[in-house]
């Protein structure tokens, strides 16, 4: 679902880029707060002899582990997104991984992870446009990772976790494709109702695979990273 450059009107692209930058800034602040702790810092004695003290954010050891975990999730999502699986009518689909990332890391770290994957794909592999990167971040990390995390959190209260994950994962693909269709439709590239219907139809099928893969990945990741924590 990586939009290349040229599908979107430049004005829409820039607007989405700004929106993506704003959301990611908030995410970065939240994650930084989570991985650091305020630590009083005693500066050098001033000429008057008293201490000019202050506080500074310092990376905690748990925080450091969280960042390495984010890297691991990003690597898994990057690899999994390469794996296009065939679906009907000569079409294929691939994982978005937004729900996987936000379920194991939380919505803010999850969104950053997916955005980094999208940036690497665009910059190093020409997969997805450069100007369209903002749109792709909005679709796959803001809508799919942040938005659908809250669907998962809501469903988890009333149903077993695997059901919550499956429904949130399926919704993430459908909602991201809906957003993608709106962006292309409003850019005037193609009539909005036509592209919306076509996108939703295909992605309702792809979403089923997203749900299955997400459950497997969440289980693999939890068992392996928790085993790792216990060893320490």
């Amino acid at each position: 679902m990586h939009i290349p450059d040229g599908f979107l009107d430049p004005k829409i692209s820039i607007g989405l880029f700004a929106a993506a930058a704003a959301v990611l800034t908030v995410c970065a602040v939240k994650v930084k707060e989570a991985v650091t702790a305020l630590k009083p810092v005693r500066a050098l004695a001033t000429t008057a002899g008293d201490f000019a003290g202050g506080v500074r954010r310092v990376l905690t050891s748990d925080g450091e582990r969280t960042i390495y975990k984010m890297g691991m999730v990003a690597a898994l999502v990057f690899a999994a997104q390469m794996f296009n699986f065939p679906i009907s009518q000569g079409t294929s689909g691939h994982l978005i991984g937004g729900v996987f990332a936000s379920v194991v890391l939380g919505p803010f770290a999850g969104a950053i992870v997916i955005s980094v994957v999208l940036a690497v794909q665009s910059l190093f592999f020409a997969d997805g446009g450069l100007l369209a990167l903002g749109a792709n971040i909005i679709n796959m990390s803001v809508v799919a990772a942040i938005g659908c995390y809250y669907i998962y959190a809501l469903l988890k209260k009333i149903s077993p976790e695997w059901i919550a994950i499956s429904i949130a994962a399926w919704m993430s693909v459908v909602l991201a494709s809906l957003m993608c269709a709106f962006e292309i439709g409003f850019s005037g590239t193609i009539a909005l109702p036509v592209v919306t219907l076509a996108m939703i139809k295909v992605h309702m099928v792809i979403g089923i695979a997203e749900a299955l893969i997400t459950i497997v990945l969440v289980n693999i990741f939890r068992s392996m990273s928790e085993g790792d924590v216990q060893k320490r």
């Binding site: 679902m1 290349p4 450059d5 040229g6 599908f7 430049p10 930084k32 991985v35 650091t36 500074r56 954010r57 990376l59 450091e64 960042i67 390495y68 975990k69 984010m70 890297g71 691991m72 990003a74 690597a75 898994l76 990057f78 690899a79 999994a80 390469m82 794996f83 296009n84 699986f85 065939p86 009518q89 000569g90 079409t91 294929s92 689909g93 691939h94 980094v116 994957v117 690497v120 794909q121 910059l123 190093f124 592999f125 020409a126 446009g129 450069l130 100007l131 494709s177 292309i184 590239t189 193609i190 036509v194 592209v195 076509a198 996108m199 295909v202 693999i220 990741f221 392996m224 990273s225």
Partner: protein
Amino acid sequence: MKRLFLISVLIAVLAAFFASANPDGLDFVGEKLGFSDKGIERTAPMTDYHIGSLPRGEVSTAVAGTAGVLITLSIFWLVAFLLKKESKGAKKSLVFLLVASLFIPVPAFAARPLVTDDFGTVDPGKYEFEAGYNAITPKTAGQTIPGIVSQIKRGISSSFDMGLEMPYTMAAPSGFGDAVIHAKLKLKEIGDGEGLSFRADLKLSNGDAVQGLGSGFLDYGGLFIFSKNLSGVRAHFNAGYAVIGDVLNSCDDDAFIYGAAFEKDIVDGVNVGAEYTGVSCRIRNSGNIQLAGRWQALENVRFDAGYSIGLTDLSNNIATFGLTAEF
């Protein structure tokens, strides 16, 4: 964690051999509804998950995929490393540089009349206005195109300024061309007017492309600027990369931009400079040598003139004069 890394690599390698080659959901819809041809083909270091020096195929994709896994991982390692350094009180500029380098732009005018930019930024709260008259003679066509270029810059902080550049062409058809937005950040100051800066540029597509005044595409790029005083001669070095939106541009691709300039005060208020600037891209290498002089007429007004000689058939000869005012 090590096992998870191996699983990622395994998935990437398996994907290279077994992933479906069918178009994905969006590509399929694009083909079915006939808008897929609007997508702009881009090149990148590993376009389409393929390593250029290997024969196209599964092995090449497996290597590219593994490289991608390592790149994504190392970004987070780097963030952890930088945060650890920052915890110990290191500068934030490194973190900014990392982020900025991800979203790199098209160098144009700097300290008139030189094209090579210098390290400095406009003082916070101050404005700098530049205006110049250019007579551009392409070496292939004899006709000279007159134009005016103006730029206004404002200092945002002691190490950051932003500017808007507006070109106007006076030949038929006349009109405003594509505007360029600049943002310059001092990364490291090593002395008075000496140090390293980074400039990000975004060229808009406001010019009328049908009339030939604009390209109709957005370009963007980034430029590193290093200035150093070499025993009375101020030297500026620029190196940058521009991502050009128009795939049919004169470069047929994106471009590397570089430049070196040297300037010296000869008498009080008058300085002379020489520079070499070049653009290097897939089908074109062009270079210009410019000789220029500046005269500080008032405390805050400076006049300048220069002549730039194109070194290759595809470059232009440019005569220019203009002024810079600070207020």
